[in-house]
Symmetry: C2
Subunit: 302 residues, 2 copies
Amino acid sequence: MKLTILGCNAATPRKNAQTTAQLLEIKGQMVLIDCGEGTQLQLRKLRVKFARIQHIFISHLHGDHFYGLIGLISTLRLLGRSADLHVYGPKGIKEIITLQLKLAKSWTDYKLYFHELDSTHSEMVLDHEKFTVETLPLDHRVYTNGYLFREKMGPRKINQTAVATHGVSISDMENLKQGKDISLENGKTIENHRLTLDPATPKSYAFCSDTAYLPSLAQLVKGVSCLYHEATFLDTHQDLALKTKHSTAAEAARIAAAGEVGQLILGHFSSRYPDLDEFIAQAQQHFKNVELAEDGKQFLIA
Amino acid sequence: MKLTILGCNAATPRKNAQTTAQLLEIKGQMVLIDCGEGTQLQLRKLRVKFARIQHIFISHLHGDHFYGLIGLISTLRLLGRSADLHVYGPKGIKEIITLQLKLAKSWTDYKLYFHELDSTHSEMVLDHEKFTVETLPLDHRVYTNGYLFREKMGPRKINQTAVATHGVSISDMENLKQGKDISLENGKTIENHRLTLDPATPKSYAFCSDTAYLPSLAQLVKGVSCLYHEATFLDTHQDLALKTKHSTAAEAARIAAAGEVGQLILGHFSSRYPDLDEFIAQAQQHFKNVELAEDGKQFLIA
């Protein structure tokens, strides 16, 4: 799983400070998470093939998380896209997008599906052949969801040495990958685990932005490989965090610690902080394996 | 009058190729014309004080001319704006913007006025103390207006030498500027033109994008100091110009020639042309004083 930060800053885009958007490559699929103004330009700069994106997940309808969506949808049309595109987001997102397409007389030639969300409980919104996506209800000023991406377990790996030793035929390989025992020509049955190896452990990624400190979130992200959690403020602005329903770096780290996650990435920094090192320091009081998001930075989730 | 090109490219924003937006400084006032995605970032790069913009004119509801508007309006709110903001544009623009502000629960604290247009005849939409703005109905795939900005004639200029010679009192200066004759203490009347000089000739700027070749436009822009006219295509793609209701460089120049304008600026170039020199060459077959728009470039209209 590979995560690319397209933008990780709060409130408004500024020079060298894009608003929230992330690209997640999961089992060869590309998904986009949030889409602040200018996201299509970030995708171009990083030479991402737009056509590969089939699913877009929008957390909430504040501008710094979705103002770039209409532009991206329009550009995909101009690029001659034919594949379906699925957009997941809060109720209302369909009306915003379709109103603009209608007034511009620019309906997409590709099929555009909206999956509007309004549940306040976690639910599975996508059950893809290779991964699943569940919502993570958050606590913000408007209806907001984080998203939890889980790879599905892959097929078992063939143990080439064991297979050669037992003279297993090529036609049995698919059954072996599926975990089945096989019968040799001499009538003897060999148990699957003697011919195969465990597949790679599935990885998982939880995206949580924007939200007030929400202790119950730890249970929902329990044991994920990687947690992105917003950290708009430092401890000195705890009052602002409460008032605006955002989190501090320490609060994000407390979620990571309680959730026993593999690693923590902090983002959505307020523009009031010229130096971000203090975010690491305050987070590490609670959770050690923490990194800062940065526009254009890539994280391998392994 | 000073014109700054914030973006001048067609269809979709690309690296170093912003979509349409222009900033016009007219008699000390700042107006924004069109607002493609990323315009607020361009304004920041050029260090324009956002707060100075009071009027925004949107030509039509294709994304490359207004997708940046909602972001700019939101950012002005976050920057604590209190002054009124006036937005002029096609019917529907109010619904697009207010729907997004409503769903984000982010109404502006400043007053936001929409002036929705639906007339197919030229009309005056703003009669400011120092300038006027008229619509220029264009011929495009959706309802579209260009805009014509005319400075108002300023006060007459005091002829300092003549005023000193005649011993005119300070209290008469305002009357002189207004063009009135004055009476001296000795009862003698002096005609205004002996004490004042003509003010600078008012300048005018016509913005015309997007549009098919529209010969009748020449009459509406007759004698303007500067005409910006879209030139999406070169002669080789005349068929595309007809089909998509855009203009070629030659057609733009024919409007400039027939309208006897002072200078012509071409813009809204299709991304299919890596070298733009040919736009100048083809335009100059019809009109000599032509320049190409370029992101970040400034033009003094004198």
